[in-house]
């Protein structure tokens, strides 16, 4: 149906051992959204994200992507359609940058020429010089590694990007720069993005919509401006109070000059 959401999670639940990690989470995401998934560490963000590309199988509930249940067809086929970038990055150390970026296209059977062209295009897209193609992962800085990781996730032109704290280990300047660069790519390539972050400021500044996950339950789901005005759940209020308090202190410092 035309107005079906692009991605739809329905009552997704997961226990690890006897401990519930996700409590029947439901979420509908229209195509083109940039959703930030925020929450304290251990709240189930990574688990939820991984149920979407089947790195984790939920105990119950369903996930539909583009109108089809993701359990239809083999896992690897689904994953090749979804970009995935995570804090660990996991560049393949025995492959150079070009081979790393070209890995999903190669699995999809692209020709070598098509892959080479795509690698050049992506290096440009993530603002890395073309001669990086032949570099080994162990010769790259943290920010460069992360850019290659994002280029690899984008290589096969997925329409959905799952990002799990992709900038978590970077210094604040690089982090801000990469965040904004990625947001620009998201708009340009017409992507749907779900980005996990525990940095509420980052979420507020980058996303169109923020989903707050606490103890495996969605406690708030709103646009950034609405979220700032949120009143109700004290845990959520505490979370958004922090960046605002910091902003006021910074403003006071500026005024004091």
């Amino acid at each position: 149906m035309a107005n079906d959401p692009f991605l739809e999670l329905h009552h997704v639940a997961k226990d690890l051992g006897a401990r519930p990690i996700l409590h029947a989470v439901s979420l509908a995401i229209p195509a083109g959204s940039f959703v930030a998934l925020v929450g304290p560490s251990g709240s189930g963000k990574t688990t939820l994200l991984k149920t979407i590309n089947r790195l984790i199988e939920p105990d119950s509930g369903s996930v539909r992507l583009d109108g089809t249940d993701i359990n239809v067809g083999p896992k690897h086929r689904l994953r090749r359609r979804i970009g995935y970038a995570f804090q660990g990055i996991g560049l393949f150390p025995h492959m150079n940058v070009a081979e790393n970026i070209g890995v999903v296209p190669r699995l999809l059977g692209w020709t070598e020429a098509a892959r080479a062209a795509r690698v050049a295009e992506l290096l440009d897209l993530v603002a890395l010089p073309a001669d990086f193609a032949a570099r080994r992962p162990n010769t790259l800085s943290g920010g460069q590694t992360q850019r290659v990781g994002i280029a690899r996730a984008l290589a096969a032109r997925p329409s959905l990007m799952l990002m799990d704290e992709p900038f978590g280990t970077l210094d604040p300047v690089t982090r801000d720069e990469l965040g904004r660069a990625y947001r620009a790519l998201h708009d340009r390539l017409d992507l749907t993005t779900i980005m996990v972050t525990h940095d509420i400021t980052e979420a507020l500044l980058l996303a169109d919509r923020i989903v707050v996950l606490i103890e495996g339950t969605i406690r708030a789901d709103a646009a950034p401006a609405e979220l700032l005005a949120y009143r109700g759940d004290p845990a959520v209020e505490a979370m958004i109070a922090l960046p605002q308090a910091q902003a006021r202190r910074l403003a006071a410092l500026v005024d004091a000059r």
Partner: protein, 514 residues
């Protein structure tokens, strides 16, 4: 070139080839078994812990014991399945060495695969690799250096341990080492050791090349090494195919001392002259040799009536020689299908011996004579003799008491009698040193010492072969103790020593002259 060197070098190519094929097959099999197991173990902790434990346990079993254990195991398997499972030779050696090679492959395989960065594996999964693609494109290439190091260790261990395959009747470079050690033919030992070390070094270099090729991602090196390896395999196989023959190969067994080597070689030479292809299975354990002929893994070898009587039939009495032989002939054939073709004509028994001059001076010809003067005499025996039933029987039959009785290693025992440090020694009747030192053996008129006639034993299958029996019959009753002592002496003496094959040739020549 010295005759020992020439002979060792003549034997070398066949043994080297057999050694390389055996250890190569064992390592290959260990890789084929070990890699899938390592893979499972890397993924599952419940599988990993017991697997590595079991492999480590196998490693603590001495290789020799591991080899020896496969013999009865395969015999049982053959009996249980009534399939023709060869219990001697290539199969048990291969199985034992494969087990032995498994540990380094498993341990490194698990370490290499299990130690991979989980983020890399997650990236591989998330990229949409299938299990197989992840294995081939990520896991194996990344763990290859550690895996290869394990294979390298396995190859070196196996090539060294394969020298022990000789003891279960599989020809290997160990043939040179064991027979050389036994006959104190150091050239032979050195050739065997050098060839084994050389093979290990070659394998190490080749695998090192592969390892370097993988580490530096240089396919050229990998292919070069693979190519050389292929050429080696081809060489080994070609020369084996070349020895094809119409007739069945006859396996001649030998236990691990000079007389056995000489007799096996003599038997081999006679069969060879009659047109039979022959392999010699040297250095069989005493118990293994009989079981091998019973199972048909060995076709012919020489054993001794007293040994068969006590060890195979489990008897403790000592009947007369002809009674014992008749009973053995009947029982061995009825029980195991083993045919006792006949005696060779000499005995290799425990005897008492003295220097001729001393015996004459004391008037000693029989043990009765000896018993009278024994309290004034010193006995030097080998390590075992004083605890054996033979010694108890002698003391009982003749009331024999020496003034002094001491145990020596054989070399020092003969030295003691030669320099007058002892008056009487325990000796083996066919030992060449009896003649060399001009000793006389002292008669045993009361028959206290059991009989140890050398007899030819044939497997059931060999006993059906008329041509084979015709080739061996001339040996029956033909080798008297003097001829055997002379032949043994040629191999055992320190100077001007001959190889067992040379001694066998000369022994056969003296038989023809008679």
């Amino acid at each position: 070139m010295s005759p020992s060197l020439t002979e060792a070098l003549t034997d070398l190519p066949t043994l080297l080839r057999a050694h390389a094929l055996l250890s190569g097959t064992a390592v290959l099999l260990a890789i084929l078994i070990g890699l899938p197991l390592a893979l499972r173990a890397a993924r599952s902790r419940t599988f990993r812990i017991p697997l590595l434990g079991a492999a480590g346990l196998i490693q603590t079993v001495p290789t020799l014991a591991l080899l020896a254990l496969f013999y009865p195991a395969l015999l049982l398997l053959g009996r249980a399945t009534s399939l023709p499972v060869p219990a001697l030779g290539f199969l048990p050696a291969l199985l034992a060495l494969t087990l032995y090679a498994l540990l380094p492959i498993l341990r490194n395989g698990v370490a290499g695969l299990h130690g991979l960065d989980p983020a890399i594996l997650e990236a591989a999964d998330a990229a949409g690799m299938t299990g197989r693609q992840r294995l081939l494109q990520v896991e194996l290439p990344l763990s290859a250096p550690v895996l290869l190091a394990g294979i390298r260790t396995a190859a070196i261990w196996t090539i060294g341990a394969a020298t022990l395959a000789t003891t279960v009747g599989q020809p290997s470079l160990g043939n040179l080492i064991f027979s050389g050690l036994q006959t104190e033919n150091w050239v032979r030992v050195l050739v065997g050791c050098a060839a084994s070390a050389g093979l290990a070094i070659a394998a190490d270099l080749l695998l090192g090349l592969v390892e370097a090729g993988v580490a530096r991602r240089s396919p050229l090196r990998i292919w070069a090494a693979m190519g050389m390896f292929g050429i080696g395999v081809l060489l080994a196989l070609i020369s084996i195919g070349g020895s094809g023959s119409e007739r069945r190969t006859i396996a001649v067994g030998a236990k691990n001392f000079s007389e056995q080597y000489i007799l096996a070689s003599a038997i081999g030479q006679r069969l060879g002259a009659a047109g039979f292809p022959v392999v010699q299975r040297d250095d069989l354990g005493s118990a293994v040799a009989y079981r091998a002929v019973a199972a048909g893994d060995v076709d012919v070898y020489v054993d001794y009536t007293g040994t068969l009587w006590t060890n195979v039939l489990g008897r403790t009495d000592t009947p007369r020689a002809d009674v014992m032989r008749a009973e053995l002939t009947r029982r061995l054939e009825a029980r195991d299908g083993v045919v006792l073709l006949g005696p060779l004509g000499f005995e290799n028994a425990y005897v008492l011996a003295m220097r001729r001059s001393r015996a004459e001076a004391l008037g000693v010809r029989t043990i009765d004579d000896l018993a009278r003067v024994a309290p004034r005499l010193r006995l030097a025996s080998d390590i075992e003799f004083l605890t054996r039933p033979e010694w108890r029987a002698l003391r009982k039959a003749y009331d024999l008491r020496f003034g002094d009785a001491r145990a020596y290693s054989p070399t020092f025992m003969y030295r003691a009698i030669a320099d007058g440090g002892a008056d009487v020694i325990s000796a083996f009747s066919s030992d060449g040193r009896i003649a060399a030192l001009d000793l006389v053996t002292i008669a045993d008129p009361r028959g206290a010492l059991p009989n140890y006639d050398a007899v030819l034993l044939l497997s059931a299958r060999a006993a059906k072969d008329k041509a084979l029996i015709a080739a061996l019959r001339p040996l029956l009753g033909a080798i008297d103790v003097g001829a055997m002592r002379a032949a043994n002496l040629k191999v055992d003496r320190a100077e001007g020593k001959k190889t067992p094959a040379e001694a066998a040739t000369q022994l056969l020549r003296t038989l023809e002259k008679r």
